[in-house]
């Protein structure tokens, strides 16, 4: 961008107006993007009864309490969800990475579902790992990465008497570290966020990953956590209080599940962005 220093710096009236509008619009857009996340964060530590009667924007926490988080962590269904998610994400991503080394016309949901059930990918851990073991899009990204290596490289290794396994391990893989990092992150985020397969293929609640439990709490408005209102050392003694706490728990749960990814994201941003570029070359 620095190359185009030409007119952008000139102080003609048109430029000044343009810049003011442009910076203004972008600042507004950025704030719009940021606000919903902040709203949830602030709400999660606010006093629930003040919160529920609050009107208008939430620019800072209303009071301060961690009782919502206490409630969430007292109930162990979410912890089991966390454990399941870690298992599925960990093992799933591992399998992704191992196997890596139909986009428009598939069989459709139902035949796929019946097939999964038939081969035993139903209501067990494998249902969360095998169907998503490979992602065609990620494979294209990796292939593009491999193709960017000069052919001579392999040829030299062959002349030196390296076997194919050796070439893969000692030449190709070390060189592909950046692309592998990209794919790794894509799979990681994908596995962490996935819920649909879990909803379709899992039956037992104690196998549910985090996202599916979240769906029940946030979307179906069904939360067993708040019915045990006083469990977390927090006493909820009125119906109104229970409603308020149910809302508070929603905010807390959202923060808990989103924060890990959003915290690491700024450090990994450049890898994610790189993935978009690598993939687009052969798009």
């Amino acid at each position: 961008m620095e190359k185009k220093k030409n007119v952008i710096g000139k102080h003609t009236p048109e430029n000044v107006i343009f810049n003011i509008i442009n910076y203004g619009v972008l600042t507004l857009l950025t704030l719009l993007c940021l606000y919903p996340m902040l709203h949830v964060l602030f709400a999660s530590v606010s006093d629930p009864t003040t919160l529920i009667s609050h009107r208008g924007l939430l620019l800072k926490p209303l009071g301060f309490t961690l009782s919502g988080y206490q409630l969430v962590f007292k109930d162990n269904s979410l912890l089991i969800g966390f454990k399941n998610t870690f298992l599925y994400v960990g093992l799933g991503t591992l399998v992704n990475m191992l196997i890596t080394i139909t986009m428009f016309f598939g069989g459709g949901l139902i035949p796929w579902f019946l097939m999964m059930r038939q081969i035993g990918c139903y209501n067990n851990m494998w249902a969360m790992i095998l169907p998503t073991a490979l992602n065609t899009w990620n494979m294209i990204i990796l292939r593009t990465g491999f193709q960017s290596f000069p052919y001579d490289l392999e040829e030299t290794a062959v002349i030196d008497g390296a076997s194919q396994a050796r070439i893969l391990i000692d030449v190709i893989l070390p060189l592909s570290k950046p692309v592998l990092a990209v794919i790794f992150l894509y799979y990681l985020v994908g596995n962490w966020n996935s819920w649909f397969n879990a909803m379709v293929l899992l039956k037992d609640r104690d196998r549910y990953p985090l996202q599916l439990l979240l769906k029940e709490i946030l979307v179906m408005n069904d939360s067993s956590m708040t019915s045990v209102g006083s469990a977390g050392g927090v006493s909820v003694n009125s119906v109104q209080g229970a409603t308020a706490y149910r809302e508070l728990v929603k905010y807390c749960v959202t923060v808990i599940v989103t924060l890990p990814i959003l915290c690491v994201y700024p450090f990994l941003q450049k890898y994610f962005v790189k993935g978009v570029f690598v993939g687009s070359i052969k798009g």
Partner: protein, 311 residues
Amino acid sequence: MKLKRKKDTFKTALRKDLKKNSFAYLLLVPVLLWYAVFCYAPMWGVLLAFKDYKPLLGFGGSPWVGLKHFKEFFSSPFLVRTVKNTFMLNIWGLAFGFTSPILLALLLNEIKAVRFKKVVQTITYMPHFISLVVICGMIHIFTQSGGILTQLVDWISGTEHASLLGYTDMFRPIYTFSGIWQNIGWDSIIYLSAMSSIDPGLYEAADIDGAGRLRKMWHVTLPQIRPTIIILFIFAVGGLMASGHEKIILLYNPLTYEKADVIASYVYRRGLQEASYSFATAVGLVSSVVNFLLLWFTNRVSKKYSEISVF
């Protein structure tokens, strides 16, 4: 891996290659197996659409019924409703969701302050990594009665609203604009990269001709990223029928089925919730075919008028 060799017939060439690159083929085996089981085997399953699947009889034993399920779908009111909703949601998506990242990229491209640009990018990319369930959870929180968005709508309209997700007319805006919120930053990356490779000479030439900033945006930047836009547009149309059923399932409810129920969500409801496997397979097949035709058609049109095509 492809050292020079004399022209062989395919069979002997394959045999030679198998011997020479046995390791590579070994690595390929699990991948092929995976595709066979998880992608191609379910394709055989579309035959279910022409059968009456009974779990007790199994796939092979269930009786053939010909086009019964297709006839049922084509004569039901759900055909018009789901197809119309699918198209409408996607037209909203193409009109707003597809254009907004281009707009953001255009604006960002004019920014000179590197730090400001970085901050804007980091923050606008962020929602892309929030899971769909959480996004929809946030939508539910913000649009329930008394939620922050509901307050906004109340304030604009001057009347009080219950949960916005219960109004049929609200569904498309909520669906589309939450999608923009989530993806505007991320989707702009590819346009920004296309813009960064535009020849600066073009801008200098435009300067000499006395073009202002807006004119340069319109006459230099946009035409230069046209190929990128067209290719992404073809992809967007290609994914038209398949897109977003997860999000719809998370956001719709019986109150809004009239405008929210799309083909994919209908397949899910009939097939998995009501276990009408064969019927849902038939509906899914119809949507696959339409989808494929749409992709083919867009690609052709684009090839004809702009000489850009995906395949």
